[in-house]
Subunit: 458 residues, 3 copies
């Protein structure tokens, strides 16, 4: 069924073992517990245990963790015969990416005397970076081997850390929920990769590139978990106190408003007044993406709802009108429609962030201005200059994502990485030992499938 090129027997173990051994060695050389996790350091300081950062970040971390592994993993199970790969490869590349991200992010902004110090905040950041890789995974879903995905993850994590460093530390922008660094970056990187990996004959597996009834229900598990925990995502690494609290609440209202406009638009543009699952599974989440930058600011629930309302409209229009154009004219085969959910709403989020930042005043923020915009608070820059920083960061992010995706896309084209043939895209059985569907139908279906596969391989 699988030919030599796509067979993973040697390639997958090889790359997994090599990568993990490198990771372990680098962790041994470079990584240390931070002050809140090291037994000696923590007890050396005169802290009360109640003030350990664990208690103020870990519940948010766990919500983010659920979004990464259940949220993204199950959201992609909508394909009828790609559920094992969706949740399984999501699991694999996320497990790799979070380790690699610890090193790359630590290298750029967590070094202390030559060592990377880690704790719950770095764990959240590692999960964030992983989220970006999983967005790109959505663009190439069904058309890549696990080896390609691991290679992509390795490069993307590195570029993510570079971009994050430039945006947050060099340019000085704010982006706590990652409208730019996570969503815009992940989406445009993935879209460029899938453009380079364009398959003119993908219609050979077109009949598998769709959902069935139960696969859509599995996907809704992913959607709902992403939706519910997005307030935790956007607030996970903001400053403590009112900042975390406000960010979570802004996101909550943005998402609620977004859901309403998503349903409205789906009924309006889809099949004779019927709702379309692909819209609901995706568009309702855009409200979280679009307040990823401005959520920690004094956006107000009113402002958050306006942003969410607009964000819910964009992806539905994207799926209906833009995705077909991207595919036919620009040759961008975007399996999950990440451009609709993460790309455009991410850019919207960056713009909203720039505007909101440029309107910040001491009168609105009080002494809290130092938490949200430290440089504006000290008078180092004006609010409008902070707005410009935000806008520049969007441009930088887009530039690195497109250029990086271009290069990585060409690397992934190397035949050694074992991409599946056109006819076997969106099909679990090329990478998994797949059981039958239902008692009684098994033999019959297996017979049909084997026959079909033989035909396709010949």
């Amino acid at each position: 069924m699988t030919d030599a090129a796509t067979n993973m027997r040697v390639k997958l173990p090889l790359i997994c073992f090599i990568l993990e051994i490198i990771l372990i060695i680098l962790f041994g050389v470079l990584v240390q517990y931070d002050m809140d996790t090291d037994s000696k350091e923590w007890h050396h300081m005169n802290h009360t245990d109640y003030h350990n950062d664990f208690y103020y970040r870990y519940p948010s971390f766990q919500d983010v963790h659920v979004m990464i592994f259940i949220g993204f993993g199950f959201l992609m199970t909508f394909l009828q015969r790609y559920g094992f790969s969706s949740v399984g490869f999501n699991f694999l590349i996320a497990s790799f990416a979070l380790q690699w991200a610890t090193l790359m992010q630590g290298f750029f902004h967590g070094m202390h005397a030559g060592k990377i110090h880690i704790g719950v905040e770095s764990m959240i950041n590692a999960d964030f970076c992983t989220g970006s890789v999983l967005i790109s995974f959505g663009a190439v879903l069904g058309k890549t081997s696990p080896v390609q995905l691991l290679v992509m993850a390795m490069f993307e994590v590195t570029l993510f850390a570079v971009n994050e460093f430039i945006v947050l530390s060099v340019v000085g922008a704010k982006d706590a929920g990652g409208s730019m660094t996570i969503h815009t970056f992940g989406a445009y990187f993935g879209l460029t990769v899938t453009r380079i990996l364009y398959r003119p004959n993908l219609d050979k597996s077109k009949h598998k590139n769709s959902s069935v009834y139960h696969s859509d229900l599995f996907a809704m598990i992913g959607t709902i978990y992403l939706w519910m925990f997005w307030p935790s995502f956007n607030s996970a690494i903001t400053a403590h106190g009112d900042d975390q609290h406000r960010t979570a609440m802004n996101t909550y209202y943005s998402l609620a408003a977004c859901t309403i406009s998503s349903y409205a638009m789906s009924a309006l543009v889809a099949h004779d007044g019927k709702l379309d699952m692909v819209h609901i599974q995706n568009a309702a989440l855009a409200g979280g993406v679009a307040v990823g930058t401005a959520g920690e600011m004094m956006l107000t629930p009113f402002g958050s709802m306006i942003v969410g309302f607009l964000a819910g409209i964009i992806p539905v229009l994207g799926y209906k009108y833009l995705s077909p154009i991207l595919e036919e004219k620009l040759k961008i085969q975007d399996t999950c429609g990440v451009h609709n959910l993460h790309g455009m709403p991410g850019v919207l989020g960056a713009i909203v962030g720039a505007i909101t930042a440029s309107l910040a005043t001491k009168d609105i923020y009080g002494d809290g201005l130092a938490d949200v915009f430290p440089d504006v608070s000290t008078g180092e820059v004006t609010a409008s200059f902070q707005g410009s920083r935000q806008a520049i960061s969007l441009a930088v992010t887009l530039g690195i994502a497109l250029l990086g995706g271009l290069i990585v896309g060409f690397i992934l084209k190397l035949p050694v990485f074992g991409a599946p043939s056109d006819a076997l895209c969106f099909e679990d059985s090329i990478h998994w030992e797949v059981p039958g569907d239902e008692e009684g139908h098994d033999e019959q279906l297996t017979a049909v499938r084997t026959e079909e596969d033989e035909k396709l391989n010949s």
Copy 2:
């Protein structure tokens, strides 16, 4: 397939856009950050960030949030061809209800100088109110259009807020986990609505009003999440410290005892000693409903277990003996059996609350009496009078639910809201673009269905 009346192309977008725009305007005019979410206010006070209420309520909020969107949403996916609508309409009306509830509850008990102040506690309360709407949704599940559901939600949230105000602020009862305000109210409101919407010819879609193997497993996701997080639900808005802690623990033991008696009763009354999924999916949860009022009191684990034990018996008997009578004699078509899970256990919870309150003494509660029964603590009322307040609140709740459900039921009968025809109840395809079931069967099944639908519509 859908005729003009039930087609949602214009109606659903229209009502969604109108409602959301009204919400946004009202939020703009009326809503403000509270002290814990406002940058200026929080930093103006001399707080440490560690004491922000976010850290003491947000984990509970997230558990409640999961119950609302995953718990209720998936619990209702037990129907074989109504999974999209169950989880999808749950998502839609909950997203609307939580916004509207913020305004209504704020109007009644969150106004400060003409503004509604919001934070994590108001978010929990909004989710609670939403829960009540979703209970009513369970009664009418499969027989209503999304437009009807939004209209119902709008009225029900308003009445919920009125009832809550009367019960908690006027009468002065305690009901932290909402045995009365959430469960009793939602159940009897929904039952009255479904009574008014009685369909004599519902047997036309009887074959779809049942589960299949995998739909029952999806429903168990909902059940288990509701069960696990009920301790967080009941304790989410009690006083800090021992109160939250005790409430969570009482609920934990009540639920465990309830599960045991549910299984026992199911084997006893169901099919020749076999367990029935509908009992397990519902009855095991009654232990959470039944300690919704008394959970924060000094009920003791012993008392909680007795209450849970009884609560697990009631719904199984209800499904077996009472539901058929309600349907045949009283013409109450209660799709999910909310009378069994929320109605009767809610009343039980109110009674347990009244008894427990009337037994409260300074000797048992110590200085904590001020947290649980402030008026008893100050000597303003006696414990037995507090018990009477609890009992009166049950009567008030029942009254408002029945009267409100009556009026709203008649409003929902207006043909403009596009209720599905009898033959197309419990069927996703009237409101959703539905994919096939399984590779290979698609064409055949679609053919069968189209034929069937044509017959039904003719």
Copy 3:
């Protein structure tokens, strides 16, 4: 369909009612709120509510709770026709076990003046003990009646509490995440039970002892939740502050490394380079088991990743090479392969714990040594002696598990407990009223099944 012996109509209600009434009476006599949950006690002390242990343990508790009810429950739904029983019996026996565990653990290490004091920490411990029972359930899955399972749970909880008392209080070992007390104990107890319950003619139901496509996806819900929340599991009852923080982080990196090696090994040893779902569902979790003892120690992320890396290899080799031998030669029919996931990795975890403990120094731990190894800190024992304590505890645990499993296995053989016949193993319909699979196929399938069952029963 069910004959007299396996019919649960009388037996299940009888045992449930008896057990629950005994539980309630014992709770009434023995159990009290602890200082953090009792209204009078808490307010008598001069605490601030912010320091109630609820806020420092409850989020971890809820994660553990999800692992017990969703994690274990859905992990076992991989069987094609045993989903109701997997998640349903898991629910039943866990609800019983956590109540019984409260009493047994309280009896051994929570008594104050003749009363058992309970709060969130005892709830976590009760869930932990329940986890051990569910591991054993995995070994006998599909071959036991719910009555047998309740009887097993009753004895196993008791023995668990005895072993835990000896290991932690008499011997003085550390085992916060339960590599020994939970995983090793549960696995070898269950393996011994299933050995005693050996069925030579189990091949009669062999065709049902496998997965189908969607049942494997349901199982992945269980796997991913176990994986995500394992950091909370291992850290749930460690000391506050750096200890909880460090334990969670060590577990996080161990699991990530484990996932990579699991995938590598699965591709290497399984079907022509294809991945096998049973490996992914189980092996990727071994990294959590293997740092269950050492996770709270200064294992470092580096050390954790090495342990996780090794732990991911072991179960895959176990499934491939050892399980067939255990079944054929040793007559151990281990349905879920708990030996691979909990048995061997548990022993590995115990060994890692012994080594790490023996290397503990004041120089590494600073003043935190008192939290992790109090006896070493006071100079009462040396670090290497602490290592010996750990090793002795492993031996004790294995001894009690094997002996206990032997005795309980023979008890469970009593025909009164209604074990299913060989031909009806791995089949829901013996204990559940089971609906059809899919619209249209129902009648046909039901006919087939009834016929088959009749044949089997005759």
